[in-house]
Symmetry: C2
Subunit: 278 residues, 2 copies
Amino acid sequence: MLHATSLFAYPTMDHLPAAMAIEIFHNFTLLHDDIMDKADVRRGLPTVHKKYSENAAILSGDAMSILAFKYLAQENSASLPDILNLFSDTALEVCDGQQMDMDFESSSTVTIAEYLEMIRLKTAVLIASSLKIGALVSNAPLSDANLLYEYGINVGLAFQLQDDWLDVFGDPAVFGKKQGGDICANKKTYLLLRAIEKADQSSLAILTEWIEKKEFNPIEKVAAIKGVYEQTKVSEETHLLMLTYQNKALAALGKLAVSPEKKMVLEAFALEATERMK
Amino acid sequence: MLHATSLFAYPTMDHLPAAMAIEIFHNFTLLHDDIMDKADVRRGLPTVHKKYSENAAILSGDAMSILAFKYLAQENSASLPDILNLFSDTALEVCDGQQMDMDFESSSTVTIAEYLEMIRLKTAVLIASSLKIGALVSNAPLSDANLLYEYGINVGLAFQLQDDWLDVFGDPAVFGKKQGGDICANKKTYLLLRAIEKADQSSLAILTEWIEKKEFNPIEKVAAIKGVYEQTKVSEETHLLMLTYQNKALAALGKLAVSPEKKMVLEAFALEATERMK
């Protein structure tokens, strides 16, 4: 958000409340998602509901969501109604994305298109709106604000694909989450959906067997499914799709009516999304 | 909220979004409170987390909280920042009240003053803010908006005391909640706290015995504690305290600079708070 602001204005303390609103909102969604996903670890530390209690995590999350709106409402400009509207629409989309994500767990017919729509809602729209809000608070032209939104959607999609990839192939000590968490929870990631599409009969049997097993050794399950991912080469395919989104993000950034030097941070951010290890 | 608006302006469709915001916010708090309190029944029907799932209740509540702010932000007046600020402060107070309420469950040293502060936060401030927001959207003088807030706090306190009373002495078929729910959950209500203060040694022993019992027959527990409430006459005392708050509410209403005819609905509402059976 502040990077977007700095493209059009010198960021000051006046821009902080909106940035804090976005940061607090994002962390609220993590608190509640971790309850819903029964996640024990976040950023290498116990999750709030594990360390304190589920009730504490529900209520702290609620308060953080409200606090986000309180900070956003401090934005002292004529665009306050537009910003509030964009932010609340985005927040509702994030909820829709989380619901889709949970629905996918019990669905056996998730398509790649549905998966991409889910990660657009759950991850990409918040990055996109942060950038657009950053532009709006510095009175940028609407065309530039919308290009930043487009950039953000594509960086967000690339970011989430990398997140799925890191869950399987990342170093848990660096990534900060338990390795194979998505695999154990039967999350319909791009890796799994493409592996199902590409697997031969024997690999498909392995996937089906482990997905349907109610009781299992997590290390064995992760190793078995990772083996199929390697055999079907979905790791490489995921990387290619990430590059496609990265290029779309860079193209949107290219059209932005600001000097090339000012775009450098967001250029680097788009590149980082597919290279990050945590 | 709309009653407050109608004291100063003719309510129109323009006033509806703010009223909807308050109604949706209130219902969001009920969804999440029912999870935290493990309540099975609300308004005579299964609670959302019972009927669907806890995750559905968490996420629907989150979306409703966001939707409340979305509607509130549609308020098309110069007082939008003030209204958003009052609403988010109130919403945070409601969360504080719920946290206090939960903390009380595991505390053995709750004072009457702490209990009254808890119900002020958990119940009264939302009624008070609804009325104040209703006044602000119709450009009422700030002095009148503040008198309505004072009226709302006192009606809210009376309302919650009646709610505690109905849990024990109400007709569950009319009230819509399981009778004695507060007693079974060891809720530190005004009735219980005053009964502990007033009980003789043998009654105190009965209270302590049932509060500490991990396994119990709910019907027996409710009957035993209700017996102590009757013996200590805390039912009558609760009613007297309700009347005190009711009188304060009516006094604030009396000072309001609007015609007596216009005040009639809010006068009746204050009287109803202590007479309602559901």
